[in-house]
Amino acid sequence: MWTRRGILFFVFTIVLTLWAYSQHQQRFPRPEFETGYEQPDATTPEPRSGAVELIDVLVLTLALSGGVWLALKKRSRKGILWLSIFSLAYFGFFREGCICSVGSLQNIALSLFDPGYAVSLNVLAFFVIPLVFALFFGRIFCGSVCPLGVIQDLVVLKPVKLPHGLQTVLGLLPFLYLGFAVLFAATGTDFIICRYDPFVGIFRLGAPFHMIMLGVLFLLIGMFVSRPYCRFLCPYGVLLGWMSRFSRRHLTITPAECIECKLCADSCPFDAIEAPTGDLSAERTSKNRNRFIVYAILIPVIAFAAGFLLNRAHPYLAKANSTVYLADLLVTQPEMQFNTENLDISTFMASGKSLATLTEEADAIRHSFAAGSWYLGIFLGLVFGFTLLNQVIYRRREGYTPHKGDCVSCGRCFDYCPVQKHAENTNHE
């Protein structure tokens, strides 16, 4: 009784063999040349070798070490300026802004959440080394190494002081940017930091029009509001700020003791110098204490509420993912399947992948968005809460000091301090 099934099987085998044969056969077989024609090789220029990538890491480490020496030991604004110009030339114009530490945080985020993705050693080095330096010496990276920071630093023309309240509110933006960048990177959706990098187009001397315009706009604003990207957007600056706030050592304005002459206060274009504080009145203290208690109780509430809100919004966030977007489109508007104008749809339809597989993939991504948006909301809520709390915490300061979180160690204040190094000796007599 092998007849029917056997015949079917036989036919099937033949078809399969023919199909396989046709796959291996070229439509137009390669000719046998008689004139001694030699076939050229396909052009495949080699990528940059690993050794060159190591050089990048080496230059980064050396530049950071040089920056530490210039900012903490030599106390030379001129030296920092020249180092920063070198860094701009090397990391910016020569290496064309890639890889940069700011963008590397997305690679790290993706590698933490996507088991199938691993970063290479130089990406990890670019992420970790500036953070470690910040933990020990402050934001040396921002002041003298980061090409994005340096290009803005060089155009500072006539910096205006922003009102404290505005600064605090704008200061929340980097956290927002960081949170969304990590969410989009971790879900494999997009690397938004790289996509909206305002200066990379300038480094490459060519980019889409809107990117160049964005860069030029930032530089124009940067003439008056110094380092606008660093202070009010840069997501890596958030991490560096955390490290720097608790850094072991940090640049000091005066080489010896502050005489509270106030000369340095106006020298800082980034409003990162804090004035000495007097003693608080008893009334003010009790007011602060009451507010502190209220805010402290509010923090978990804010965090939960923000998490809940963003979680509600996750279907919209997930639409940023092209897979989710395509699946949504095809499910809600099935007639779109026959739309040949839309390249994504027509390619998907031609690929032979089923709609079920696509929606399954989309659901998985949406699921990670649902979880991620909770974390993101809680993170943003906490940031907001602690910013509030910070407003009522009183910290006594003697003398003018750089705000360790905000100071980028550019060294502009050095030359304004009238206290001489040798005064140290006379003071301690």
């Binding site: 080699e46 963008g103 060519g206 072991r248 092209s322």
Partner: protein
Amino acid sequence: MSDNKYIDRRNFIERSFRIGLGAAVAGTAGYTLLKLTRRSYVWQIDPFKCTQCGRCQTDCVLPVSAVKCVHAYDLCGYCDLCGGYFKPDANELSTAAENQLCPTQAIKRQFVEEPYYEYIIVEELCIGCGKCVKGCTSFGNGSLILQIRHDICVNCNECAIARVCPSDAISRIPVDEPYIIKGDFSFTNKS
């Protein structure tokens, strides 16, 4: 004395945070190190997945795309009527511009011997639009392929073309084998 106490407390808090942050960085680095690859990665197009949609030309961050047509000569049939060189409605098989498929005339047609012609990509002119690749894949052997040229590519953290590629043909591949060139079908069929 009370002053010292205050300073001590602040120092203590600072140190605790410092250690905490240091541990966080070390933890992240360590976790990443666990699956760190010693090999670096570069972006590349899988010619077997590529559908020649034309986005390589438009979406690269560089002014002129790092994607160029590469000729895998192993596969070429050296046809007189080349689907990658001539427009489907070409008037005659000549090198006249109006017959050419390539918008920048980046393909050079050279006579080898009767009836065979050699086709050479002039890389300075190629913009990576993939029109010739589509022509060759539809009508010929598919010996013209799009590849990311690593002497031009800046190796972005995330390739801007990969993000919009409708057929997911662009992925990171190890740097030791940075090209996926179609070869003789009888022995290579990488995916």
